[in-house]
Symmetry: C2
Subunit: 354 residues, 2 copies
């Protein structure tokens, strides 16, 4: 299993995306976002996505030269048009604009329309928190979950991320999809012949199932908290999709079967809206200390805060490198060869003899 | 089981609260909120609360004469001080101010500090939607849930409500607490000797339990979606509690053991922030029609939207009256007698012979 440092992996990803048709600046931004996800241990949103992104670019489903621009601006809110390209660059712009608005007016809202996959939502919320503000970022996706009481996919697992600045600690970051689990965990259970807990997925008739294979065949993820996650997904469709003028539901497709498939919404709030910033931070640290002091459940070492695991993984991987599975490494090497961008950083020097 | 019309029940509740020490105007607002919850079928937040509220008022835990006032105002945000009284009146004021700000600036945020129980969160979000805007309302509460991996209550079940205006239908309303279920459902299972599903509660060592009795003894509700609801509760503590300068966590107490125990946050957004209002409504109706057309799961008649059940209950109860359990009716009658406010509307005329 190759272990690769973040920087060469990011450069490799940027080369691949450039060869797939993106402008170098756009490729670099996306490569940075993917590797940031790998660093945090969110490998589902890491360089694994290069395979999908290059397929979508090759199929012409993504605008490789998007003209990302602000199309509406008022005192409290701006709208960015992603022009059918990937969501990374327009959402970073939305974050920047929301932070500017919030600095001036206390809170700032930025929508992104006609966008595609933007990687890990946490990255954008975290950037707001690093600027000293409270951030919320959300996106709609195509349907993968059953609505409560339904037997067909009709709802996105619409991610929501929050980040709260801390002093001097790194931000508190919560990033969650609205399905109870991702398909990946069900695939793993199926591969290992294990049952899944009820509450993860439904069978093809919409009934709770513990059979991982049946769950994969039905393709019906359960919303977290049943009717609660179901309702919340619809609310995110409204906020990220409908409000921004982006496609939602069966018209939406974060995986790129059409140009401009989803929308995003970014909210930034000043922590000192209503009280001095030092008081906000003192109260926050008191609260977090209190939660961390909760006696752990049997078999648990200690209670963690949202984002603690990801932060620990990032520190480890920054020092030790990012492990890639042998299968992924092979697929990425084949992709690089097909695109003619030279060997990946984990490959030994290519054999140049005839 | 008495069945009572909303209006006389509301008048009765107002008389009780006035006799318990509230000013008539404040009592009328709270009585209206409680009966609105009963109408929607949310009986946990209905006139049942008169018992608790009168106890708290008698114990001096609630300010019966709060000076509700705006203490901070900027272009995008206002803060209302509840002055240690109940949350109904200050949150209605916050809603009004958030709607005003949103009409002018596109979005408006209003915090409420030093507050107490505000009844059903949906009522406030719905009022924003009735004004034509998208509403979000949230509140922190005292600890009733285990943080993920913990074995003691440390997190509130912090309700979040959203409402989205529809034309011409009544608003789409989602109101959820962040525990998977309320204690009431576990109490019911225990009373009926039924096990509870895993995912509802933990035992005293923080392990998932299916034993309803054990769950009640431990008093550890499970967050919806495990680590997801756990993290989200902490985010609501930040938004509703810390940001507004209100107590959070173990310092917070929505049930009134101290004056000014919790905070609330209200956000209003114009649906026409980024696109013409008619387009927003057309896209929303297309999306809702799509979700409603999902084939239902086996044993389910049809897929419902968030708030559909509550709306149906409200229509029925507006026509037929609100059923009260015999036990609740007795307790309320005893309360009324103790406070000397005359018989409840469901009692036969009192025997006035000596």
């Amino acid at each position: 299993m190759p272990v690769v440092s973040a920087k060469p992996l990011e450069e490799f990803a940027a080369r691949v995306l450039t060869a797939a048709g993106l402008e170098p600046e756009e490729a670099a931004v996306i490569a940075g976002g993917l590797v940031q996800a790998n660093l945090r241990g969110v490998d589902t949103h890491g360089v694994l996505r290069l395979l999908q992104y290059c397929d979508c670019l090759a199929a012409g489903e993504i605008n490789p030269r998007p003209r990302v621009r602000v199309v509406s601006r008022s005192a409290g809110a701006v709208l960015v048009d992603a022009d059918g390209g990937y969501g990374f660059r327009p959402t970073l712009l939305a974050v920047e604009l929301a932070v500017e608005l919030a600095r001036e007016h206390g809170l700032g809202l930025a929508g992104v329309r006609a966008s595609h996959h933007f990687g890990m939502a946490a990255a954008y919320a975290e950037r707001i928190a690093e600027a000293g503000l409270i951030g919320m970022v959300t996106a709609n996706t195509g349907p993968v979950m059953a609505p409560f009481g339904g037997a067909r996919p009709a709802l996105g697992n619409n991610p929501i991320a929050f980040a709260v600045p801390r002093r001097p600690e790194p931000p508190l970051v919560l990033d969650m999809a609205l399905s109870q689990v991702a398909f990946g965990r069900i695939r793993l259970a199926a591969a290992e012949g294990r049952p899944i807990p009820t509450g993860w997925a439904y069978d093809s008739r919409g009934r709770p199932t513990t059979d991982a294979g049946e769950a994969l065949r039905a393709g019906l993820l359960a919303p977290m908290g049943e009717h609660k996650g179901s309702g919340l997904s619809l609310i995110v469709d409204v906020l990220a999709g409908i409000l921004t003028g982006s496609p939602v539901g069966h018209e939406a497709d974060a995986h790129g079967r059409r140009r401009g498939g989803v929308g995003h919404l970014v909210l930034a709030l000043r922590p000192d809206l209503f009280l001095p910033e030092a008081e906000f931070h003192a109260a926050l640290e008191r609260r977090l200390t209190e939660v961390l002091a909760t006696p752990p459940a049997e078999g648990v070492e200690r209670v963690l805060l949202p984002g603690d695991l990801e932060l620990a993984t990032a520190r480890r991987r920054e020092a030790e490198g990012i492990p890639l599975s042998a299968a992924l490494a092979r697929q990425l090497a084949a992709l690089a060869e097909r695109l003619g961008v030279g060997p990946p950083p984990w490959a030994s020097a290519p054999d140049e003899s005839p």
